[in-house]
Each structure stands twice: as C-alpha cells, then as structure tokens.
C-alpha cells in the first residue's frame, strides 16, 4: 500500500465516456488498482465520492459556472491534489459543452460551461473525445513512475509527460482550426493523415494531401491537433517507442 500513489476522480459536466474509457483498460485497470494506484474517491467506480487529499486527481467534464457545487468541487480538487489531470475534451477544452446555451431539462439555468483550466491551474491534459484507454493507461503508469520511480524512470516519465503538460499550459480551446492555424499556416503539414484518423466525428478528410475540416461537425475535442506529428514531437521519447511500450506492458502484467 505504501508504494501506491493516491488518486481521485472528480466528475463534473461530462458524459461518463471518460470513465468508461478508463474502465475499458479491463484487466489493465485492475492491475493499476492492485499495484500502483490507491483510488481514494470516484463517482461510478468507487464508494467514496467526496474529494480528498491525493497525489493525482483526474477531472472529467467541464465546469458549469452556474452550478455552485461544480465550482466548489473544481476548486477543492485543485486545493487537495498535487497534480491535476484534465481528462478528456470537456475538461481540457470544453469540447461539446462549448455548444451549450442552456434551456435543457432539468436545469434550464445551467448554460455556461468552462474548461477547468479557465478556473484552476491544470498540470496535464489528456485530450480527445473520448480519451483513449491506452493514453489514460500510459499517463497513469508515467504518473506513478514520476512519483515513485527510480531516477531513470522519473526522467522518462518527465519526458513523456512534457508535451501533455505543455498542452495544459498552452490554452483551453481547441478546434479543427488548430490544424489550419498551427500546422498548415505554419508550413508544417506534410499530409500524413493522422488528424483524419484521430477525429472522433469524422469531420476531417484528406483532400489533395491536406486535411479538410467540416467545421460544423467539429466538437472541439483537440484530438486531431494533438495526434498530429507536427503539433509536437519528441525524438527522445518517440524514438524510444519500443522500450517504452514494453515497459508499460510489463508494468501491467
């Protein structure tokens, strides 16, 4: 028990898809809970639901600023966690909740939703809608290595998490347009097609070697931009893919 990291899960305005993605690690999740993680609180998957002091907390969903409880919870999460991870498009970027204009049952007055980074400092982003079980797993293992690993493991985890920490520092809005403004406009797109594959709503097709976005379909999850090898790319980490994949798989045996 002593070697485990303590983890919490705050669930705000999200559809539980991120929770399901976490659970979709199946046996991997059980190994995580068995060996590395002491899950202190989490609606849905744990008995304890109230926010406690933890090493790492994952936050699903955006914050409805018309909901006093949600605002208190996100602040309390920040105060009681050493590391806050925004899990999924809504927590990172607002995602589909960006389109809310209120009037829905049974809280018609709940109309204004913000990504959590607009209210608190966030340390790590896991974008995507839903975020993938594998990225959640990789980040969880790396978070463990960062806090409990040897010097070498800490260095690896730091390098691995660096781009996801940079994403958290960079901003709280995402759109297909990021591919235009930060990749194509910057002369960096080489037409590999990663963005089209990553898009969860098939809003992106490749036309004459460049992504073409159906902007009305875009839900603003950030998956396309972050999957793009020209958004950010670390030779130190990615060149070492074989060893890192093996280490993660071994950790979950």
């Amino acid at each position: 028990m002593a070697d485990k990291i303590t983890v919490g899960y705050t669930h705000l305005s999200g559809c539980t898809g991120c929770t399901v993605a976490l659970a979709d690690n199946y046996a991997g999740l059980l190994t995580l809970l068995d060996k590395y993680v002491d899950l202190k609180y989490m609606p849905t998957l744990a008995d304890a639901r109230h926010i406690q002091k933890v090493d790492v907390s994952f936050v699903e969903g955006s914050v409805c600023i018309n909901d006093k409880l949600a605002v208190e919870e996100i602040k309390e999460t920040r105060e009681k966690s050493a590391v806050v991870v925004a899990l999924g498009g809504c927590a990172c970027y607002g995602n589909i909740t960006r389109f809310s204009r209120g009037g829905q049952q049974n809280q018609p007055g709940h109309e204004a939703y913000l990504p959590i980074g607009d209210l608190i400092k966030v340390d790590v982003f896991i974008p995507g809608c839903a975020p993938t079980p594998q990225l959640i797993r990789n980040v969880a293992v790396m978070a463990y290595l960062l806090l409990k690993g040897t010097k070498e493991q800490k260095d690896l985890a730091t390098a691995f998490l660096k781009p996801l920490m940079a994403a958290a520092a960079e901003g709280n809005s995402a759109c297909f347009c990021d591919l235009m403004t930060k990749v194509i406009n910057q002369g960096l797109c080489m037409g590999c097609g990663s963005c089209a594959a990553a898009c969860p709503v098939n809003a992106i097709t490749m036309e004459y070697g460049k992504p073409q976005g159906e902007r009305d379909l875009c839900i603003k999850c950030g998956a396309c931009y972050h999957q793009c090898p020209r958004s950010w790319f670390s030779f130190d980490v990615v060149s070492n893919y074989e060893a890192i994949n093996e280490a993660i798989m071994a950790a979950l045996q």
Binding site: T132, Q134, N138, S194, C224, H226, S234
Partner: protein, 308 residues
Amino acid sequence: MGAELGIYKSCVSARSTDKEILKFAQDGGIVSSLFAYALDAGIIDGAIVAANKEFAAKYPAKCIQDSSNFDMIEPFRPIPAIVNTKAELLAAAGTKYNISPNIALLKEATRSFGLDKIGIVGTPCQMQAVRKAQLYPVGMRDVGASIALAVGIFCMENFPYQGILQLVEDHAAMKMESVKKMEIGKGKFWVYGKRGQVVQLPLKVTHKYEQPGCHVCLDYVANLGDISTGSVGSPDGWSTVFVRSKIGDSVWAKAMAAGCFETQPIEKVKPGLELVTKLANEKISKNKKTLEGRATFGVGKALRNPYI
C-alpha cells in the same frame, strides 16, 4: 553526425525473388514481397497501402471512404486502401511521388475493415505518426497494439499532387494519363511514358514543387519503421533494407527463411551505405538550417517548431 541512419539491427541490399512482384515493383519489390509474405504467413491480416485510380475502379470497397469521387480521381493520385490479397497488393504497387495519407486509414482499418494485425507502409514522417499514435494515442483508441508491421520508405521530400502535375505536364510535357512510372534517381526526375518515351528533368527544377512541410523533416531513412527500405545505396533493380525493431527482425528472418528475397551484403554493393549516409546528412543538415531559419523568421517572432 552518426545518427543519420537511425538504429538498425542489420542492413542488406535485397531483391524480391518473386518475378511477378518485380514486374510491378518500383525497385526491388521489398514492400510488396514483405506484405505478400506477411499476409500469407498470417503476420498481418491486411495492409494499408497507397493505391490509385485503377485500383479504386477494381476494388472500390477497399479504398478510404471519404468525400472523394473515385471517378474524378486523376492518374497517380494516391488513394489509401486496404489490401488483403497478393492480387490487390500488386494492383497498388509502385511509388506515386505525392503523399498518400495512409495514416488516415489507420483507425478505420481496425473498425469497418476488421483488421487485428495491420501492415502499414509510409514515409519517415508517417512512421513518426505511427509511433506517436502508439505512445500518445489521443484519438487512436485500440489501434496501437494492432500495428503488426510498419514498413518505412526512404524519403528526401514529397510533392503535392499539383506539383507532380506541373512537373509532368508542364516541364516534361507529358499527359498524366500516358505516364507509366516516375522515378527519382541519379540526380534526376524521370518520367516514363506508356509508349516507351522517357523524359528526365534535373532535380533543380523539382525543388520549387516540393511540399513545404517536408523541409522541417529530420529523417531520411524512416528511422521508426520496423523495416525501412529504398533504392538509394543499391544497384538498379535492388533495394537497401534496414531491419530496425524486434518485430522487423523477426519478420525479416522469417521472410528470408521462406525464400522471399535474395540479398547481397550492403558492404559489397555500389554505391552502398556511403551514398545513403551522404544523402541522409544532406537532408538533415539542410532541414536543420530551415528550422534554424524559422526560429528567427520574423522580427522578434519565430515560426513554430514542432520538435520538443
């Protein structure tokens, strides 16, 4: 530099022993033979390749399903497609010289195409995309572990389709429909016509048609492929092959044992690794300069550097 060829376990000059594949192949038929063997041996159950108009006419359901109207697609415009048989593989063989967004099919390959063991071929940047997708699968749920064989191809730069169109039609004065094969080699861009005519253009002419995105690329020989291959370094009709990962090593050993390739030691062939090293260094130093230039591009303003 020293790192220009990436990490590799072995390197040989190789050629397919399959006469049928060689008939369709760009050089030594390495990619086609590897995939044909891997399909046969059950190492992969399908491969993502760059197909073309003719392939799309024959196998429409195997092509990427996007808004493209396959009837309207021009000759030599690549279409990402899934192949499950050698016949399909051969129908898609050959270099297209403009980028095929193969990664766009990577997730769908595991979905409607139902692949559990994917083969994928791509340029060095596409191998980077594959590995990023495995380590940071932001939007690639349940994809990483299904990638069973990634074959990288050497790449100095690529062209947008319209660039190829201008080179072939305006500079080489040939119709796209009449082109049999294109090739870059011996310092020239070659266009071979179906009637047997050959036009060569100096590479200098081609530079302005390159995709800008290629000019920040720091990988010539697909360092992140399981296996990577290209014509450079080997005699005509042969290809240079780097075997890089554990997966690559195992597949290559099995394919060799099955008699798929004849090989020569890379040290024994001309021009050999010396030329590969030279070109790799040329690409990397040229593009490092581009990256440096981007850092001071404006007045106190930089262009974005994707590398961290």
